[in-house]
Symmetry: C2
DNA sequence: GTTAGCACTCTCCGGCCGAGAGTGCTGAAA
DNA sequence: TTTCAGCACTCTCGGCCGGAGAGTGCTAAC
């Protein structure tokens, strides 16, 4: 595409994302291309419309980017917007003061992304494909009730109350604990399975069974934490003036099970994924754009972090800020060993 | 107030909560009071309006309850709606399948309340005024890095990474653990403080300091978990058709710090609290009603559970279902020892 | 290739009007 | 004294109309 056409497409996208009003040839002439007459711009606009990058709400309205228009912009025209110092400092402060556990960190990350992008955000907890045990602990609650505490890689704590068939004192459990730790800590989940198969009937086997159950739950990811925040930001946009639009987005965000699948599906292998309007498979997200990246303390432990907003979104700002938060969060989590 | 006036007020509230349309004398005559002419009903309505319990959107519209009207209904006219078996079963299933930790349970409880009341819900984690330690555990991460795990009453796990001034092996830590457990488990937080004051300088004092820090955080409630769900249910109501109304409510719900204060303020001492429209101190909740109750595994550990919806809410249904979930959750949490 | 000029189209907004819903009042009946 | 039929009145809502304004596409000249 010729340079000038690209420049005009870029201008239309920029103008429309800030004003939310269809942009006409006159506005482009006075604000972007003073030495180009509106008539010339008009004919370029007509061609861009023929190419499918622009459309008009009605005959006598200005132009609006189509989904393909945004796509072209994102793929070829967008350059990342630098992040102001104030925003950078805000991100750093929020991440520094975040709780030192995964849950708290994920929530803080979602909150921060929502705040700096002024859109809705989603975040899933970093997770590896196989769980690794760091530490096991057993606490006697009642004579026949044991609280099993598992510390997984990423300082993830899991707990489960186990009703044992035989009574056990705290001393019994403490003895058992050191054996279990020796065998399991630093090992992946299949070690626990192996040991379970080999163990004789009794308390230890019983407990190992529950250890495996917890690991299974984690690995299947059915209990994977997904949070969202910043829906109120969407409501400031004219796209969401009728609340039925908000309703559709909320259906996706509040249905955690669905959201988990969606994120996993979308992120694929790339490190930055932008899905625009009709490219969304889910019907509720028509008219919305989703920007996703990954984050996590190590290469093996990765979660998804994303922004959801109207297709008329400040993509370059969103991407740079999203990535800044993702990098910051990854560093902070690595630092905390979370 | 005469019986008949009460009956008419009750009918107006009932009709308006289901239809969302101002109710006229004709509708009341044909659907509730067949042997009372619409003229008679009309004069009663006029008197109820004089008393401040009803109002009209405009001269030729039907009547709508005022906030005082709802207040009168709630205080004197409402009888709890029985809960259908289907709903009862749903509540039971959701609570049975909830995760066995506080965070998971709180989220599930909020989700269930939102689902069965078809409104937005809020829930705060049950919390006592003083923390009690059930168990302490220390895990060596690096030579000079220790993960401190605290199990509090309610099977609440807290963790913190501690950078120690001197290196310590896991064996050192294990030895220290048993001493700490002997001294602290089953004790309230002031015991930890006492012990900290008496301890000689060294690893133990260092760790005790962090234990106290964690307990402080918990007791000050600054980190108290508050979740919400079901905002999408509100969007089905005509009151929230313009999204600015939703925006106001979301500002309250998504601002966790604010929400915590609000809940604590509202719940006071009573076990059921209903706040209607202008009774709300916060301006964002004008036009909304909040129904709150408490729940928790023991008398000492109580959280707040609530419903937020339009003032035009099915109060009797909301109250009975909210209380059912609160009771169910309390029982389940007691059972799990959470 | 660019541009001024111009006719054309479509939305938006305010005003107008009739239909419909619901009220309050009045006077008669129970 | 209470109830109720009848009736005039008020107000909203939806459709319709027309003018203003914005922006376009086309054409002819530079």
């Amino acid at each position: 595409m010729e340079n000038r056409k690209q420049a005009i497409l870029r201008a239309v996208v920029h103008e429309f994302t800030t004003s939310a009003v269809p942009v006409g040839s006159q506005a482009l002439h006075s604000r972007y291309f003073v030495n180009l007459s509106s008539a010339t711009i008009r004919s370029e606009l007509a061609e861009l419309a023929d190419l499918g990058y622009l459309t008009q709400p009605h005959t006598s309205a200005g132009r609006v980017p189509t989904d393909s228009g945004y796509r072209y912009f994102v793929d070829f025209l967008m350059d990342l917007e630098p992040i102001p110092d104030r925003v950078r400092a805000y991100i750093r402060d929020e991440l520094q003061s975040a709780p030192a556990d995964v849950e708290g960190m994920v929530e803080r990350v979602a909150m921060t992304v929502a705040a700096v992008t002024q859109n809705a955000s989603v975040a899933s907890a970093p997770q590896g494909s196989q769980a690794r045990i760091k530490h096991v602990d057993l606490v006697s609650l009642e004579p026949q009730e044991v609280l099993l505490i598992l510390l997984l890689e990423g300082n993830l704590l899991r707990q489960q109350v186990v009703n044992t068939t035989e009574p056990a004192t705290q001393a019994d459990l403490t003895a058992l604990t050191s054996g279990l730790n020796e065998a399991l800590s630093g090992r992946a989940s299949d070690e626990a399975r192996r040991r379970y198969d080999g163990a004789p009937l009794g308390l230890e086997k019983e407990l190992l069974g529950r250890v495996i159950a917890v690991l299974d739950l984690y690995e299947k990811g059915t209990e994977n934490l997904v949070v969202h925040d910043g829906v109120r930001n969407l409501l400031r946009q004219p796209e969401f003036a009728e609340s039925s639009r908000v309703h559709q987005v909320l259906e996706v965000l509040e249905e955690t099970r669905y959201l988990t699948v969606l994120l996993r599906q979308l992120i694929g292998d790339s490190d930055l994924q932008i899905v625009i309007g009709s490219e969304n498979t889910s019907s509720q997200l028509q008219g919305c754009a989703v920007v996703l990246t990954t984050y996590g303390p190590t290469d093996r432990l990765k979660g998804v972090l994303g922004v959801i907003g109207p297709t008329r979104m400040a993509y370059s700002q969103t991407v740079s800020r999203l990535q800044a938060v993702a990098r910051g969060a990854s560093d902070r989590m690595a630092e905390l060993g979370v």
